[in-house]
Every structure is written in structure tokens, then in C-alpha cells.
């Protein structure tokens, strides 16, 4: 009993966060380009579907479109999870475009049941801390909040990763239960972590990858014109989101610098080389782990090629 021209679009994080900002932008573009023939009802903040059941919910038809983090499902996306590895992504834009390139090259089975509308990645994780981290030695044994891939990454770097829900982080920082956290830097402003963490070390570690997917039956019911338009929008949207969130991080850092005088630290080239060396086992472990399902090494090589090309193309 729902109008055919209205699509529901579910998203899990709060409305102010970048996955929702890109959702609203996509909605506006689609409504404009179809001259209102297609209208989108957005459901931010997990009002319709939560983070973990987004994909299955879209397959079941609970929402027509859903945006979810593939990184929250380790093991489920053996091809695309390679993007999550600490491959020294310079920014979200390059990681996002490379993610889409990888998807288009392999068309992985794990997303067969849905139509992919766009993909993007958050900016690479950096270390925010109460006391400065100027070298890997400073990081040794430091209790850092991390999630997903970040746990293993920090372990390899010598830190002591701690898993805890987002909601405990400010209190834990305040009481120094943890000495910092590793994630993309927009949280410095968005969640006001700059109030506690006055030091940022640019490590450019792993990213979190997102996919926006549509229910297959719903997709099939659309006209050829609309399908063409949406397909064209896919890459544009990836690029827009990457640029937007990279700018958002730059703004957050500028804001934190002016409000809390935070210091941004760059590792020396020697430290950087050491960091890279320590993270190699993770990439090897990935290749070994997915070996029976997908060609891990070929995927890593492809990603490196994409990364190099996109870094030049999107200066």
C-alpha cells in the first residue's frame, strides 16, 4: 500500500554525521534529477533499521534503500574488507573511489542480493590522545579505544587496545580509563573529544567502509531512465562524499586547534617505516584468511594500483 514513487532510505548514525549528510544530498539530487517523479523518505539515526541489520533488512524489504558499514561485519565481505586494512590511505576520497573501483572489478557475491547505489569510506584513523604520541615508543602499552580492525592494528603498533561502546568514551577519557582513541578525526569536533585529547598523531591507519544498497525487487520496478540516472549518480556521489568528509575533518582539526589548542604530530620518516613494517603481518594474515574464498594477493595488488592512480587523479 505504499506509493511506487516513494522510496524509503534508512541510515543508522545520527542525522548530523556524514553518512546522513551524504544521504540528504543524494535525496536532493535524485528528486531534482527526476523532477520529483521519485521522492525519498529518509530515516536517520537508526529510526527504521539499525547498523547491524541494515543489509538483511533491505533484502527483506524493511527499507527500500539502506546505508551500512561493511566494516561492522568482519568476514562477510571477504573482497571489500581488504580496503579496511591499514594500507596508508591518504584521505577518504582516494579510499572511497578505490573501494568503488574494487567493487566494480570484482562484483563480489556478498552483495549479489542487492543493488549497490554508492559506496564510500570514512577518513583513515588517526590517534587522538591525552598525552602526546611522538613515536611508537610513546604508544607502547597505551590504552587506546578501538573497534573492529583497529584492535588488531593498535596491537601490532604496541598499544593496548580497549573495546568499549561509543557512549562510554567521553567518561573513560575524562577519568583516564583510556588514554586516547583511534578513529577518523571528525569526532574531535562532532563528539567534542578535543576537550580531552589535546594531541593528534597522523598515522593514517585503517578506514571504515560503507555501502548504500537497494532492495533488488524495488530496483527492478524502476524505469530504465531512472536506473540510468542512478547508475550515473553512483560514482559522483562517492566522489562528493569523499570530498565532503575530508573537508569536514579539516574543519574539525581547525576548530579543535582554535578552541583547545590541540597539537598535530607527524611521525618521522623512520617511525613511519617502522609502522609500515609492523603492519605487514596484518595484510599477510588477510591474504591467508580469505585464501580459500577469494584471491587475496591479487586484490591487494589491485587496491595498490587503484590507490596510486586515484591519488594522482584526485589531487
Amino acid at each position: 500500500p505504499v506509493q511506487a514513487a516513494t522510496l524509503s532510505y534508512a541510515n543508522f548514525p545520527p542525522a548530523s554525521t556524514f553518512p546522513c549528510v551524504q544521504m540528504e544530498r543524494w535525496k536532493k539530487e535524485v528528486e531534482q534529477r527526476t523532477k520529483g517523479a521519485l521522492s525519498i523518505n529518509t530515516f536517520p539515526g537508526g529510526t527504521l533499521l539499525g547498523a547491524k541489520n541494515m543489509l538483511d533488512g533491505v533484502v527483506a524489504g524493511q527499507a527500500d534503500i539502506g546505508c551500512f558499514a561493511m566494516s561492522y561485519h568482519p568476514g562477510r565481505f571477504p573482497v571489500l574488507e581488504a580496503i579496511d586494512l591499514p594500507l596508508e590511505w591518504p584521505n577518504a576520497l582516494v579510499a572511497s573511489i578505490s573501494l568503488l573501483d574494487l567493487y566494480e572489478k570484482y562484483r563480489p557475491k556478498s552483495l549479489e542480493k542487492v543493488k549497490v547505489l554508492t559506496m564510500f569510506a570514512c577518513p583513515p584513523a588517526n590517534i587522538m590522545s591525552i598525552t602526546p604520541v611522538r613515536s611508537l615508543k610513546d604508544l607502547k602499552g597505551m590504552e587506546i579505544r578501538a573497534a573492529g580492525t583497529g584492535v588488531k592494528v593498535l596491537e601490532l603498533l604496541g598499544a593496548s587496545p580497549i573495546g568499549m561502546p561509543q557512549s562510554d568514551v567521553p567518561d573513560a577519557l575524562h577519568k583516564k580509563v583510556i588514554q586516547g582513541m583511534a578513529s577518523s578525526l571528525e569526532v574531535m569536533k562532532d563528539f567534542n573529544y578535543a576537550e580531552y585529547c589535546h594531541y593528534v598523531t597522523m598515522t593514517n591507519l585503517q578506514v571504515v567502509t560503507f555501502a548504500v544498497v537497494m532492495n533488488r525487487d524495488r530496483w527492478d520496478s524502476l524505469s530504465a531512465d531512472v536506473k540510468n540516472m542512478l547508475d550515473k549518480l553512483c560514482r559522483e556521489q562517492t566522489e562528493w562524499t569523499g570530498r565532503y568528509v575530508d573537508q569536514h575533518v579539516r574543519d574539525a582539526i581547525a576548530w579543535s586547534k582554535s578552541k583547545y589548542q590541540i597539537e598535530v604530530i607527524e611521525f618521522s620518516s623512520k617511525e613511519k617505516a617502522e609502522m609500515k613494517k609492523r603492519l605487514v603481518p596484518m595484510i599477510e594474515a588477510y591474504v591467508g584468511r580469505v585464501g580459500s574464498q577469494v584471491p587475496g594477493q591479487a586484490i591487494i595488488n589491485d587496491i595498490q594500483t587503484f590507490k596510486k592512480a586515484n591519488a594522482v587523479k584526485y589531487k
Binding site: G75, R76, E143, V151, S160, G163, P165
Partner: protein, 165 residues
């Protein structure tokens, strides 16, 4: 028929006793796990994945207690209006209510079972420890199935007029 309900009832009682024992075990595990994590963390060796394990243990503890909570009439209901209805009407309404409950929990149990199957198939792993957590989903499904059974028994008893609901 009466004997059948009685047998069913004693099965329900035994089943509940087992489930509650397991649920209680998981509750204690949750406490011990957190306390151990707090202590070990102060020595610089935090237990990785405490956070997700707590969630899974909590799920088992709560789900396996569902049926017992129903037997003990702990699930809150609004009985203000019903009390003034005549006894026969009360009985009919409560049978309808139980029937709705049975249908819902059977569907929920089947669906969570399917979810468990799906998590198994697509290789859904926990975020930090990266182990397949679908058995916990099956445990929740079991809890839902048993509360459906208990509701069905209560409905049959009401139908036979054996016990006041």
C-alpha cells in the same frame, strides 16, 4: 486431555528450571568477566572483546529467562479494566491474548532461528574477537520457543478452566 496438559505442564516446569540455571550461570559470568577485565586492565592486560562477550552473555541470560518470567507473571500487563469484566469474558479475552502471544513468539522464534542460520551461512563474525557468534542467536530462539510453549500451556489450562490465569 487433562493428563496431556499436566504432562505438558511438567515438561514446561523442568525445561524452565534448566533454562534458568543456564541463564543464571551467564549472569554470573557477566559479572566475573567485567570484574576480571577491570582488574586485569589495571595491570595493563585488558581482556580483549569483553564488550561484545557481555552483550552475547546478556542475550542468553535474558532470553532463557523469558518463559520463567511469564510463569511468574512478571511481564507487566494493564489489568485495571479487565478486573471489572465478568469471569467468562475475562477468560475468553485472556485466551485470545495468549493465542496472540503464542503466534507472535512462535514467529519470533522461527525468525531468530533463520537469522542464526543466515549468520552461519554468510560467515558473520563478532567485531573484535572475530568468532562466529550464531550459537548465541540460536539460544535466543530457544528462549522464544519456550515462552511460546509456556503461553500455550497457560492457554490450554484456561480453556479447561483448570487454573486461574
Amino acid at each position: 486431555m487433562t493428563q496431556f496438559i499436566k504432562n505438558l505442564d511438567s515438561i514446561g516446569v523442568i525445561l524452565n528450571r534448566c533454562l534458568i540455571a543456564v541463564a543464571g550461570f551467564f549472569l554470573v559470568v557477566m559479572m566475573v568477566l567485567t570484574v576480571a577485565n577491570v582488574f586485569l586492565r589495571s595491570f595493563g592486560i585488558p581482556l580483549k572483546g569483553t564488550f561484545e562477550l557481555m552483550g552475547y552473555c546478556g542475550a542468553v541470560a535474558a532470553a532463557l529467562a523469558l518463559a520463567k518470567t511469564q510463569v511468574a507473571r512478571q511481564h507487566i500487563a494493564v489489568e485495571v479494566l479487565i478486573r471489572i469484566f465478568p469471569r467468562t469474558l475475562q477468560s475468553i479475552l485472556s485466551i485470545i491474548g495468549s493465542l496472540i502471544g503464542v503466534i507472535f513468539f512462535v514467529l519470533a522464534a522461527l525468525q531468530t532461528w533463520r537469522m542464526g542460520n543466515n549468520f552461519w551461512q554468510v560467515n558473520e563474525l563478532s567485531e573484535t574477537l572475530r568468532f562466529a557468534y550464531f550459537p548465541f542467536v540460536y539460544a535466543v530462539s530457544l528462549g522464544l520457543a519456550v515462552i511460546a510453549l509456556v503461553l500455550a500451556i497457560q492457554m490450554l489450562q484456561e480453556l479447561k478452566g483448570d487454573k486461574k490465569l
